[in-house]
Each structure stands twice: as structure tokens, then as C-alpha cells.
């Protein structure tokens, strides 16, 4: 790639690959702003001849979409808060304290992170029925901790291993207790890690499908994933532009988080795979 022509050719090639990969997502956005009749053109039009937001309006006023969205937001925030609080304490313990069984426990966390949900889901279903909380958002929060807690714990542990021991030791020498040192020294240092772990945990909860399918069977508690799919199944004739509009709306929070996370990407979703 020394010559200018070579560089241009390579750039063209690279961007073609990128755009082909992103095409389904571009197509989703384009379809969502086309009027219904334009979808049935043969050959299909690429750019909409006429841009309309009617599908978004219908989605909000004529479908239970907003209810699903509210459920998903409650579910996402609750799961994230519970999991990140518990995991921050746990990760701090795993990194800074020494007690028998600590290494085993860390291994256990990684093991549970790999467990298939279909193994846990039947007993969890029975548990929710027995507790009388099936069909509630709360039951989903409990179920989501099965994958979100090991994930957050593992990620936070790798973040916290990066904080030098000396910082806490210095605070202790100055007369702070262990908990004071945790609050005043470790937490501020770990804050970027905690924030990105929270965002990744939120994405996991936002995108989850299987538990929601099995544990929740009413529109009152249904999150977006199963909710939007039920719109597909229950429709008499499938309105693709409406579904594409729903898909775009569902992906908006991810795009916002994505913009924030650029520099943490490798650490977050590479967790377990690549050491952060």
C-alpha cells in the first residue's frame, strides 16, 4: 500500500466490506421510514421515494410498545443496580482480601458465566411458580442475575486488579479503616470500570429473550424483546415497516450507550476472552 492508487483501492474495498456488513441495519432504518405501499415494489426501491414517520406514530399510539419499553427500562435499571452493587462488593473482596476458598470462588464465577440458561431455566420456572411471583418483572430480575452477576463480577474483578495495592495501603497507614479505604480510595479509582460494567449489564438485560419468553406471559410485565416478537406473531398480515420502526426504537438506547463506550469495548465484551 505504498502508492496512492493502492491506498484508494484498499479504502474502497474496506468500506465496501463495512457497508455490506452494516447493510441489514441500514435497511432496517430505511424500511422504517417508507410508506407501507412502497415495500411491495418490485424491484424494491433503495432510497425511500417519500419519507414518513407514520409507523413510529402508530407504534407509540396504537400498540403496547410504550408499555413494553417501560417494562424493559424498569427491568434493565433494577437488574443493573442490584447486580453492580453486589458485584462491586464481591469483586473488591475477591481482589483485596485473603481467605480460604477465594481462588475456587473466582473459578466458580467464570464457570457459571459459561452455563447454558436452558439448564437453569426449568428449575427457575418452578421456583417462580412456587414463590408465586411468576409473570412479574421481579421474577425476571432474579432470573437475570444468573448471567448478569457472574459477568459483572468477572469484569469488575479485572478492572479492580488494575488498581495498585499501594493506594489502599497508604490510606490504611493514614488511619483509615478497610471500609473507609474502600469508599474513599478504591471506589473513585474503580468508577470508570463500574460505569462501563453497568452499561454492559444494562445491554445484556435489555437484549435478553429466553427467560422473558418462559417466565412472563402477560403484557403487564413483558419486556421489549418478547413484546415485539409477539407483535410479529399476532399480526394478521405482517407489517414490516412497523416492525422495523420497533427495531430501530429498540436499538436507540444501545446506540447511545455505544457512543459512550467506544474506548471500553475491548474490555467489556472481550471479558473472559481477552484479559483486560
Amino acid at each position: 500500500m505504498k502508492t496512492l492508487a493502492g491506498r484508494i483501492a484498499f479504502n474502497l474495498f474496506a468500506w465496501t466490506v463495512v457497508l455490506v456488513t452494516a447493510f441489514p441495519l441500514i435497511w432496517m432504518i430505511l424500511t422504517s421510514v417508507k410508506p407501507q405501499f412502497e415495500l411491495f415494489r418490485i424491484p424494491p426501491t433503495f432510497w425511500p421515494e417519500q419519507i414518513t414517520f407514520e409507523h413510529y406514530v402508530r407504534l407509540i399510539y396504537e400498540t403496547p410498545f410504550l408499555k413494553y419499553m417501560r417494562n424493559s427500562l424498569i427491568l434493565g435499571f433494577t437488574t443493573t443496580i442490584v447486580v453492580v452493587v453486589v458485584a462491586t462488593l464481591g469483586a473488591h473482596s475477591l481482589v483485596r482480601f485473603r481467605y480460604p476458598g477465594r481462588e475456587r470462588l473466582a473459578q466458580m464465577v467464570l464457570f457459571t458465566y459459561l452455563l447454558p440458561s436452558v439448564v437453569l431455566i426449568l428449575p427457575l420456572y418452578l421456583m417462580m411458580v412456587w414463590l408465586g411471583i411468576a409473570n412479574t418483572i421481579f421474577s425476571l430480575v432474579i432470573a437475570y442475575t444468573t448471567f448478569a452477576l457472574p459477568y459483572a463480577l468477572w469484569l469488575l474483578r479485572s478492572f479492580m486488579q488494575g488498581i495498585p495495592d499501594d493506594l489502599e495501603a497508604a490510606a490504611l497507614v493514614d488511619g483509615a479503616t478497610r471500609m473507609e479505604a474502600f469508599v474513599d480510595v478504591i471506589l473513585p479509582q474503580a468508577l470508570p470500570g463500574i460505569i462501563s460494567t453497568s452499561l454492559f449489564t444494562f445491554i445484556l438485560a435489555w437484549n435478553e429473550y429466553l427467560y422473558a419468553l418462559v417466565l412472563v406471559n402477560t403484557d403487564e410485565a413483558r419486556p421489549l424483546t418478547t413484546g415485539v416478537m409477539s407483535m410479529l406473531v399476532s399480526a394478521f398480515n405482517i407489517e414490516w415497516s412497523l416492525l422495523m420502526a420497533a427495531s430501530v426504537m429498540m436499538s436507540l438506547p444501545l446506540i447511545i450507550i455505544f457512543a459512550f463506550l467506544q474506548k471500553y469495548l475491548t474490555r467489556g465484551f472481550g471479558a473472559g476472552g481477552v484479559k483486560g
Binding site: 424494491p44 481467605y99 422495523m244
Partner: protein, 299 residues
């Protein structure tokens, strides 16, 4: 960590901090895991949750069930094919995005995005692309002269299997890109400079420098993705539902079908447990590797 000033007197405090984690783990992971083993010894009618003990009856049934073996075969076929595509495209895309191209960070974001969108969104978009009458895929293939008639992408074989493999590759190859890209950035430039001076071409630099440097990360990525692809439910269930008939039914789908379609929770648990036994070898291997990396990286 032998010279650590934070000594063992604090063990109790440490145990208290980890206690909530351990309690939650016991309630939502350890108990269900044991319970799944226990349930697999019963036959349980899902709507009433009444059951009777049948010992290893469910497992005996599965060994003689062609459906179970077919599902296992489907799971292996899906895992091997989609994983291969993920690795090949993932490494290629990572090498490409490692070069200086214009708007590189935008290009990276666009490539990574399929991994972050919900499977539900990915499936809806692909079902629209695969639509037999108005889908873009059929249109483009017809235009290119590759096919004469519109294809039924999801409803017939072998198309359905090929379709889920392709969509799986599209959805999950960015994970490989993330991991490989991170590793590429740590290969010292001096290695390439030295090879250039020795007269090595682009291809031999790739084979002799890049690939060996990537080996460790690729082993880990392959294991991790193999585990995750093996247990994939959402993508396959939402694209084909296991159909036509059971042609794309993998083990996780069989668990769901047995439990909530055929209403036998005991047998479903037996399928789930069998599936986990198959996965266990991969999981143990991964834990070993992860443990080794851990010890090396600790001072």
C-alpha cells in the same frame, strides 16, 4: 502477593463482602443446577407440575430417540459451521480494520454493531431480508442471475440450516474482531520491520509473525464462542423455530419444546443435562486456559 500489607485479620470482613454474591449464587445457580439433575429423574406434566419418579428412564428414552441424536447432530453442525465463518471473517475484518483507512473508528463501530443489537432485532431484520416475495436477498440473487426462482430461505432444507449459520456468523463475528484487534495492537512493529529488512513479503509476514502472535487469543476465542454457539437459543428459535419439522432443531430448542410444547419437564431436564455434559469438556478446557493466563499475568 506475599508481601501484601492487607493481611489475614480482615478475612471476616472479606467474607462479609462476598456473602451477598455467594447467597445469590446458591439460590439462583447452584440450587437450580442440582434441581435440574433431580428433575431429570422424574416425568413431570408441565401444566399441573405433577410427576412421578422414573429413575434413569428419561435418559434411556433419549439414547433410543432419533430426535435427540438428530438435535445433537444439528447442534454440532451449526456450531462448527457458524464458528468457522466467525473466525475466518473475524480475523480478516480485524486485519482490515487494523490498517489505516479513512474514518476508521466509524468503520469499527459499524462492524461491531451487529454484536450489540438484540437478537430479536437481528432476526426481524433478517426475516425481512429473507422474505420470499419482497425480500432484498431474493431480489439481489435474481438480479445477479444466481437463482432463477425466489428461494424459500427459512422454510426448506438445506436453505434453513445455511440461513441460520450465515445469520449466526453475521451476528457474532464482531466478537472475534474485538478480541483479535486488541491483540494486533500489542504486536511490536519492530517484528515487521525486521522481517521486511529480511525480504519477507506481505503473505509470509502474516503467516510467520501475525498468526503465531494471534495463536493464544484465537484458542481462547474459539473455545468461548464454541460454548456460546453450542447453547444458542434465541437466534435459531426466532429464525426457524427448529423447522422445517426438526431439521434445524438444536438441543436448547429441544429442551424448550419438550418442556413447554410436549409438556414433559422431566424429559426436558434430561436433555438439558445431557447437553451440559457435552459442553462440559469445552468448559473445563477453557477454565484451565483462563487459569493459566491468570497466573502468568499476576506478579
Amino acid at each position: 502477593m506475599s508481601g501484601n500489607p492487607l493481611d489475614k485479620r480482615y478475612a471476616v470482613l472479606g467474607a462479609m463482602l462476598i456473602a451477598p454474591t455467594v447467597l445469590i449464587f446458591c439460590a439462583v445457580i447452584v440450587y437450580p443446577l442440582v434441581s435440574a439433575l433431580y428433575l431429570s429423574l422424574f416425568t413431570i406434566f408441565t401444566p399441573t407440575l405433577r410427576g412421578s419418579f422414573i429413575g434413569l428412564g428419561n435418559y434411556a428414552y433419549l439414547v433410543n430417540s432419533p430426535e435427540f441424536w438428530r438435535s445433537l447432530w444439528n447442534t454440532l453442525l451449526w456450531t462448527v459451521c457458524t464458528l468457522t465463518l466467525q473466525i475466518v471473517f473475524g480475523v480478516a475484518a480485524a486485519l482490515m480494520l487494523h490498517q489505516n483507512i479513512v474514518f476508521r473508528s466509524l468503520a469499527r463501530s459499524l462492524i461491531l454493531f451487529p454484536y450489540f443489537v438484540s437478537t430479536v432485532v437481528a432476526v426481524l431484520v433478517w426475516r425481512w431480508l429473507f422474505n420470499d416475495l419482497y425480500g432484498v436477498m431474493n431480489h439481489l440473487m435474481l438480479m445477479a442471475g444466481l437463482i432463477k426462482m425466489p428461494l424459500d430461505w427459512l422454510g426448506s432444507m438445506p436453505n434453513a440450516m445455511i440461513s441460520i449459520i450465515l445469520v449466526g456468523a453475521w451476528k457474532y463475528f464482531p466478537f472475534v474482531v474485538i478480541a483479535v484487534l486488541a491483540r494486533l495492537q500489542t504486536i511490536p512493529d519492530a517484528l515487521y520491520e525486521a522481517a521486511k529488512i529480511d525480504g519477507a513479503g506481505a503473505w509470509s509476514r502474516f503467516v510467520d509473525i501475525t498468526l503465531p502472535q494471534l495463536r493464544d487469543v484465537l484458542v481462547v476465542v474459539v473455545l468461548l464462542r464454541a460454548i456460546w454457539d453450542f447453547k444458542e437459543f434465541d437466534l435459531i428459535y426466532l429464525l426457524t423455530g427448529g423447522g422445517p419439522i426438526i431439521a434445524t432443531q438444536t438441543l436448547p430448542l429441544m429442551v424448550y419444546k419438550d418442556a413447554f410444547g410436549l409438556n414433559d419437564m422431566g424429559r426436558a431436564s434430561a436433555v438439558a443435562v445431557s447437553m451440559m455434559l457435552v459442553m462440559l469438556s469445552f468448559m473445563v478446557l477453557y477454565l484451565k486456559l483462563a487459569g493459566r493466563g491468570e497466573r502468568e499475568s499476576q506478579p
